[in-house]
């Protein structure tokens, strides 16, 4: 059978067979949960947010399935191009972007208001995966290799941080750094840079936007301004805490229903979910994310090409970061930085980026035996 031979293209049915159905099931389940949560944020009616979210999920999910059929080599081949295109979009956004609530993050593509920084969260991993695919292990720690990697990483971060969008730039940085780590960069460099960051922290804080400084101060002590900057954290904790073991019940989350929760359909969707479904519901949701991350990492571990392996490991870790940062934020463990919960949060660009990531992972799964020269 051709399955044993290298570089053989699987047939359509083999591809279908090779799909990771557990992953797909988890994504669908998450989609369903997110649709119901969105329905709840609309006050138990299908209004703008729920309708738009469901449509986006269905479109991008279908798109993901179709993209999964692309050979993994396609992604490898165009990895740099994607990076350049998204980088170009970022430049466009900072020049001609749409402004909303004090930052310029979106570009108008007529059919969608695209937030290129969201795409960058995935594309940076893709780009690094290709970059390190070729580099020999003994070359990884050379000055030149590290320098180019840092340029690749810092360019988009700078563009995103000036939008300003601290949350997304942190996630891009984390996604990039985890790939650098996986690629084998000497642990010393991480330690050194960590020390350097600590030292430069006071200077960096001086450059932060006033609202960002406020958020950090607020995180350290939410009660210093309970009706102003601390409001979100306090109300979010009240919502989660009042959920109890099994929650207040679907559509019965008073904190969100009575509009005490800010940003309930985007960054604070988990708060709403935790309020309505309690500790058990939160654990279930967390479990779904853990399964998804596990499946993505598993695909990485069975992939024969270094590119696919690195991407899957990187992307799996990135999802971990998205989930962790978002949950820690709404649970009052991290300062409020804008970061959506993948698939759950309302937002087309985030959904698109996440689905593209899954499409690449799925493609790696289908073509797990594929080697890339």
């Amino acid at each position: 059978m051709s399955q044993n031979s290298f570089n053989t293209k699987p047939t359509f049915f083999q591809k279908l067979k090779n799909f990771d159905y557990v992953l797909i099931a988890c994504i669908l389940l998450l989609g369903l949960i997110s649709a119901l949560s969105m329905y709840s944020t609309d006050g138990g009616e299908i209004l703008f947010h729920s309708k738009s979210h469901i449509i986006k999920f269905l479109i991008f999910f279908t798109m993901m399935i179709f993209l999964s059929f692309l050979n993994i080599r396609f992604w490898h081949y165009f990895a740099y191009s994607f990076y350049v295109v998204v980088l170009f979009f970022l430049v466009l956004a900072s020049l001609y972007g749409i402004k909303a609530s004090g930052s310029q993050r979106w570009i108008n593509l007529y059919f969608i208001n695209l937030q290129p920084s969201e795409l960058m969260k995935v594309v940076i991993i893709l780009c690094f995966a290709k970059y390190y695919h070729r580099i020999q292990l003994n070359q990884v720690n050379t000055f030149q290799t590290i320098f180019i990697a840092l340029v690749i990483l810092i360019l988009p971060i700078m563009l995103v941080i000036t939008q300003p969008d601290l949350g997304t730039s942190i996630l891009i940085a984390l996604s990039g750094l985890v790939v650098l780590w996986l690629a084998g960069i000497n642990i010393r460099y991480f330690v050194y840079s960590f020390i350097a960051i600590l030292i430069s922290m006071p200077f960096a804080i001086a450059f932060l936007q006033p609202y960002q400084k406020l958020r950090i101060l607020t995180f350290l002590n939410p009660d210093r301004d309970p009706l102003g900057a601390g409001y979100q954290i306090i109300q979010s904790k009240i919502a989660v805490g009042s959920g109890g073991l099994s929650g207040k019940g679907f559509l019965k989350g008073t904190q969100s229903y009575l509009e005490f929760l800010p940003e309930k359909h985007t960054d604070f969707i988990f708060t709403l979910f935790a309020e309505e479904h309690g500790f058990l519901g939160s654990l279930t949701l967390l479990l779904i994310y853990i399964i998804i991350i596990y499946r993505v990492l598993r695909i990485g571990s069975i992939s024969r090409s270094y590119f696919a392996k690195l991407f899957c490991y990187g992307y799996g870790s990135a999802i971990f970061f998205y989930v962790t940062v978002n949950m820690c934020m709404v649970l009052g463990l991290l300062p409020i930085v804008g970061s959506p919960l993948p698939i759950m949060s309302y937002g087309g660009s985030s959904m698109l980026a996440t689905m593209i990531g899954f499409a690449i992972v799925m493609s790696a799964k289908i073509n797990y035996k594929q080697l890339i020269a």
């Binding site: 020999q136 292990l137 003994n138 985890v178 780590w181 996986l182 690629a183 084998g184 109300q235 904790k237 009240i238 919502a239 989660v240 805490g241 009042s242 959920g243 109890g244 073991l245 008073t254 904190q255 009575l258 509009e259 005490f260 935790a274 309690g278 500790f279 939160s282 654990l283 967390l286 853990i290 991350i293 990492l297 990485g300 571990s301 270094y306 392996k309 690195l310 490991y313 870790s317 971990f320 962790t324 949950m327 820690c328 649970l331 463990l333």
Partner: protein, 654 residues
């Protein structure tokens, strides 16, 4: 192959490092789960409370104020249903149009119209706007007729204070009006029960008994959103009505008092001489307290405030007058008690006496000739009382007067505007004025002039205590269900009297000891009951014997027969010229005219009621005040039967 070897190492590195990250992820997820556990399980109660605090709001409804009843259970301050018109601006499509419609339907004035618009701009769009606090029935029906196309308009049935006997109870009850900032700050109970538009007592009993009358708020619990908007009502607790307070006043007598005082400035107080119940207490002129309910308009207010007859003053207990000759029974009693005189003591009245170069006139220029106690009291001979006052001395006189309740508040703290009055003595003058007492002052004190100041209610109490045989009574205006009956009180008085006689027989020491140990209820205010009897007889003569000052006001029917004492209280020192001119009352300017006073008790045989009448600037007591007593006593005695029945009925009910 070097490449292949390197590739294997590369894969080993990535897998090793992935494993490390994987372990780190598990630790982080465990941390998140721990956090969720602490928030949702450990601290769940705390956050549940906070969440409820967020979403639940209680709205207090205005409490329903307790009622006032008269002695016969008639409502004298009640709660009336009023029709109000409320609008919730949020529910109105076109507010301007609606307001124009309402203006037309209710025929609002431009000023009212602007006031409503101003009110609306201050409030949130979902807060109730009161268009009218008190719609007339016509307005109410008219609004209801058009209601189908007045969306957002709500006719509401509410309660408001109502005083059905309008000006008859004004000074006793006072009135209610919207609570001011000061009311809220000064009274914790009002503070805790306050709702916008709450009306509280401003004067009188309405103010004194505020805390009992106010009732408790009904409570509506609502779920609200983050902006404070009511989303839905969760429950409703009815408030409790305030306490009903029953007065000892008889509305019929009160009404007659008010009629008799019509167009006069003055007061009437009527009291039960045993129970101390105030049967009537009217101050004139009065005003309609209903005017204050929805905010009095400026014109009405100015009219009341600027009235020279001072309708805002409760003259029965805030009006201070020299008692004039109504003080003479006290002087006589004090002189008898102290042994200064006996009943046969005589003075030759020549119309005036000289003392240290100063002349003291009797009201009768020609003089009364030789008078004894009875005759002196009957004709109100000033010379006689100058003489006995001089012999008695002011300090001993004060002792007796204080015993009978002069110079002290009659109703204690029941009214915050009650005055104490003043019974002077030598010490008082030394302390307050820094001067020594002079004998001439004793003389004029003896006829109730000078520094002496009393309220009509004090005079009434004094008369009552003379009438009941000289026993202390405890005046009251609120019916107390546990209070003693007249029979009980009489029994106590008799026992006290017997004790007193026994004490007199016994050794001095034991009697002092006993008197010190138990200060008794209804104690004897005399040493010898004969003295009281003498004074009462003299008062009887004053009213019922030819030549008495109030002889023309007597009633011969023993059922109604009463004994009294007139008084004419000088407002201005009588000048030599005036004395020579001897002007008639109407010839003197109003503010210089004497106050006319009268105290009386009746029926003479087995007395039961005492009264005091003061007519400001009324001229002489015998011509102005005493005739009022005649008209009053008929009704008071006639109502006695009913009053007793009412008491008996109550006892049976219990």
């Amino acid at each position: 192959m070097l490449g292949e070897n390197s590739g294997v190492k590369k894969v080993q590195t990535i897998n090793r490092r992935m494993f490390i990250i994987g372990a780190a992820k598990l630790i982080v997820f465990t941390g998140i789960i721990a956090r969720l556990f602490s928030l949702q399980i450990t601290e769940n109660k705390k956050y549940l409370t906070l969440s409820d605090k967020n979403r639940l709001r209680e709205w207090r409804l205005p409490p329903v104020r307790g009622e006032f009843l008269d002695y016969f259970g008639n409502v004298i301050a009640g709660n009336l249903k009023v029709y109000q018109l409320h609008v919730i601006p949020e529910e109105v499509e076109n507010f301007k149009y609606l307001m124009v419609r309402l203006k037309k339907i209710l025929s609002l004035t431009n000023r009212e119209f602007k006031g409503i618009i101003k009110q609306k701009n201050k409030k949130k769009s979902w807060e109730t706007l009161i268009i009218s606090k008190n719609l007339t029935w016509e307005q109410f029906t008219k609004v209801n007729y058009f209601l189908h196309d007045l969306t957002g308009v709500k006719p509401v049935l509410s309660v408001s204070r109502n005083y059905p006997f309008s000006e008859n109870y004004t000074h006793i009850l006072g009135y209610v009006s919207e609570a001011s900032q000061k009311d809220i700050l000064n009274n914790e109970v009002i503070k805790s029960k306050h709702v916008p538009g709450l009306k509280v007592g401003k004067t009188g009993l309405e103010k004194t008994f505020e805390n009992e009358l106010i009732g408790t708020n009904g409570i509506q619990r609502y779920e609200v959103n983050a902006y404070g908007k009511r989303i839905n009502q969760l429950d409703h607790t009815e408030g409790l009505n305030g306490k009903t307070i029953k007065l000892t006043i008889d509305t019929e007598i009160q009404k007659l008092c008010s009629e008799l005082l019509k167009d006069l400035a003055g007061s009437i107080s009527v009291m039960d001489i045993y129970t101390g119940e105030i049967v009537a207490m009217q101050s004139s002129p009065s005003f309609d307290p209903n005017l204050f309910l929805f905010g009095i308009n400026q014109d009405d207010w100015q009219l009341i405030r600027n009235n020279p007859l001072k309708p805002l003053v409760n003259k029965t207990l805030s009006g201070l007058y020299s008692p004039g000759s109504t003080f003479k029974p006290m002087v006589a009693l004090s002189a008898l008690e102290n042994g200064t005189i006996n009943k046969n003591f005589k003075v030759n009245c020549m119309g005036k006496i000289e003392m240290y170069g100063q002349t003291y006139h009797c009201w009768k220029k020609k003089g009364h000739g030789v008078v004894n106690l009875k005759k002196a009291m009957k004709q109100s001979c000033d010379t006689y009382f100058y003489e006995i006052a001089r012999k008695l001395g002011v300090d001993r006189l004060k002792e007796t007067a204080i015993k009978f309740g002069l110079g002290e508040k009659v109703l204690n703290k029941t009214f915050n505007n009650e005055k104490k009055g003043l019974i002077p003595d030598t010490k008082w003058k030394k302390d307050k004025l820094g001067k020594s007492w002079v004998i001439g002052e004793t003389l004029i004190t003896g006829i109730g002039q000078g520094y002496t100041q009393t309220t009509p209610l004090q005079l009434c109490q004094m008369t009552a205590q003379l009438a009941n045989g000289g026993f202390k009574i405890y005046p009251k205006i609120i019916v107390d269900e546990n209070s003693k009956t007249e029979e009980d009180i009489k029994f106590i008085m008799n026992t006290n009297f017997k004790d007193l006689n026994e004490k007199k027989k016994g050794s001095q020491e034991t009697s002092e000891l006993l008197g010190f140990v138990n200060k008794k209820e209804h104690e004897c205010l005399f040493d010898d009951s004969k003295n009281i009897k003498l004074v009462r007889e003299a008062m009887f003569a004053s009213t019922n014997e030819v030549g008495g000052t109030s002889y023309s006001s007597r009633i011969e029917d023993p059922k109604y027969q009463f004994a009294g004492k007139t008084g004419t209280s000088q407002v201005k020192r009588i000048t030599k010229l005036a004395r020579e001119l001897d002007l008639k009352t109407f010839e003197i300017p109003y503010n210089d005219r004497d106050h006319a006073l009268y105290i009386a008790f009746g029926p003479y045989i087995n007395p039961r009621y005492a009264l005091s009448i003061v007519i400001e600037h009324g001229g002489s007591g015998s011509s102005t005040a005493a005739p009022i007593a005649k008209k009053l006593f008929k009704l008071i005695i006639d109502r006695h039967e009913l009053r007793e029945q009412n008491r008996v009925q109550k006892v049976i009910k219990v």
